[in-house]
Amino acid sequence: MNNIVKLIWLIPFLPLIGFLINGVGRKLLSKTFSGIIGSAVVLGSFIISLLVFLQIKSGNVFNIHYFNFISIDSLKISFDYKIDQLTSLFLLIITGVGFLIHVYSTSYMHEEDDKDFAKYFSYLNLFVFSMLLLVMGGNYLIMFIGWEGVGLCSYLLIGYWYKNNNYTDAAKKAFIMNRIGDLGFLLALFWLIAKVDTVDYDQVFSAASLAKLTPVDISGITLLLFVGATGKSAQIPLYTWLPDAMAGPTPVSALIHAATMVTAGIYMIARSNALFSLAHNTQLVITIVGLATALLAASIAIKQHDIKKVLAYSTVSQLGFMFIALGTGNYVAAVFHVITHAFFKALMFLGSGSVIHAMGGEQDIRKMGGLHKHMKITSITFLIGCIAIAGIPGFSGFFSKDEILAGAYSHGVVFYAVALFAALLTAFYMFRLYIVTFTGKFRGTHEPEHHLHESPSAMTIPLIILAVLSIVGGYIGVPEALGGHHQLSAFLSPVVKSSVHHLTHDTEYMLMGLSTALVLIAIFFAWTRFKKYQPEGESKGFAKLLENKWYVDELYDFVIVKPIKSIAGFSNRIIEAKGIDGLVNGVGKAVNYSGRQLRWLQSGQVGAYVLLMVIGILLLFILKLFF
């Protein structure tokens, strides 16, 4: 056990080393070398994480103190790692899925220049480092450092193709939206420090410090933390950055904007479950926001034509499901869904990357179709992902989503109905995506059809591994109603205390049967609707509303961006031009004017100087004699 403790610092440190090597040597390293370095460091972290996980499984929990980070008066914040059951699961997801995506990237990004290639891997490694710091930190401040780090890496990678203005705009949008959320997080930290004088998890969640917090404090702190989570995990009202984040390379979308970073908000709330369980108002807010996001994003996904946009809205919607679970106190289900979602969503993003790769950069599904016969591995693995996310029994998504739905049911039938409807939409749009992309006839021109091919094995092997995980990943949490023991729940029980009302087995059977039947109907409906898909013309009415994403971007533009721009314009024209410029220019003009008036004194004539000197002497005499 002691040996493992000595290795733990290496888990985040290895990706940092990878970042430094690739970042500093980006002009010198060959693609092969930087790809190997980038992937190997993450593999190293994965192996150590696995060893740590085995230790934790046998009942050890690590609290490692490194050094005192901040020490002001009575406030002491130390640089600690806290590796418990929850952290070890996230470590496995981050490094495991991260490693697969690194391997995939070596092939996907192969057309980049050497130095861009190394830059890409250095960013990716920096991201893994920040994310590991986020989940390993022993207090909120260390989490915040990682929290900011992943936001930065997200910005860098969305704007990776920085020569395209739209992409850099998307990067800025993501960064600004995240900053709004970060402000909430930061305020929550200040509030916490002001009240209990510590940010350490164990101390904050201890009974003594919880007793110091009034209900108002708890509601305020949890709501502010939730604001932070809405930014990072793309919930209403801060979700609009995530679909735009698809401007980044596809493996980045898979790693950052589907599997790991966006789950940071879920992790943070699951970590703070002791606080959130006390704040019933906040829980209600979280549930409602989660429901609204799940429904809104799912409805938008139905009418999107960009393969990555569909997946992006699907991610937002699935994150909404996780928040429903958090809001209903069903923390284990949220973490469970994070795990299964990481598998199948990473799988589908990488699958879409494979499709885009084959199509030579084309992302519009209206120009695809019939790809199954050209790329069988991608097609089959993608189908597995669709089945998993739709929630067909036997696949991973079924178990996690059903647990969330059951939790929602126990809190109210209305919650359940809305969540179920969003789940049906999920099944519908995922199968629409699959059917339109992979079946039927090819609708593009002949030129790309000629080039259609299966991707190289560096891309297909991660797909296959993720597909297998998407199937078996659910069996860590088989509910008791189906004869399982829910190992995940037992494993997490020391850290996460879910407050779920237990349903009878009969009710659970009924819920599962209902959702499965409806999902199958939704899939069937999608099949009849899209099997002979032809691109339609301009859509009208409600469809147009969905296609334009409910005009939320336009609304934000009108309500926030335009007023700010007009205030900025006013300041620029009046305050800046007239006020500040006038002051600065006025000082300059005054000096200039007085200089011109005094210039005749410096005539350059020796006689004039002498005359002035004599006059001066005479004046001194007069002063001396008469005053």
Binding site: Q602, S603, G604, Q605, V606, G607, V610, L611, V614
Partner: protein, 110 residues
Amino acid sequence: MDIKAYIALSLTLFTIGLIGVLVRRNAIIIFMCIELMLNAVNLLLVAFSKMHAASPAVKALPTYASDAQVFVFFIMVVAAAEVSVGLAIIVMMYRNIHSVDVNFLNRLKH
């Protein structure tokens, strides 16, 4: 003789020198006027020295009636050295701008 006559003479010489410096443009004349002012002051120094020697209190001093005279000789020696430097400057000025008019010496302004 009354000290006032010496003071009047020195003042006259000094004023002539001063006005000469102010109104003339020829560097040599200005130089001569400066010398005139210098000598006016020298004359005044000697005159005052003589006046002081008449008072009984000064008679007791070891340097009685000699210090100002020695000073004046020093001043004359230093003035001679200064004249040589000043004249050298004027010669160089003439060589460079072919004129000894001080109004041409305004290059610093440009």
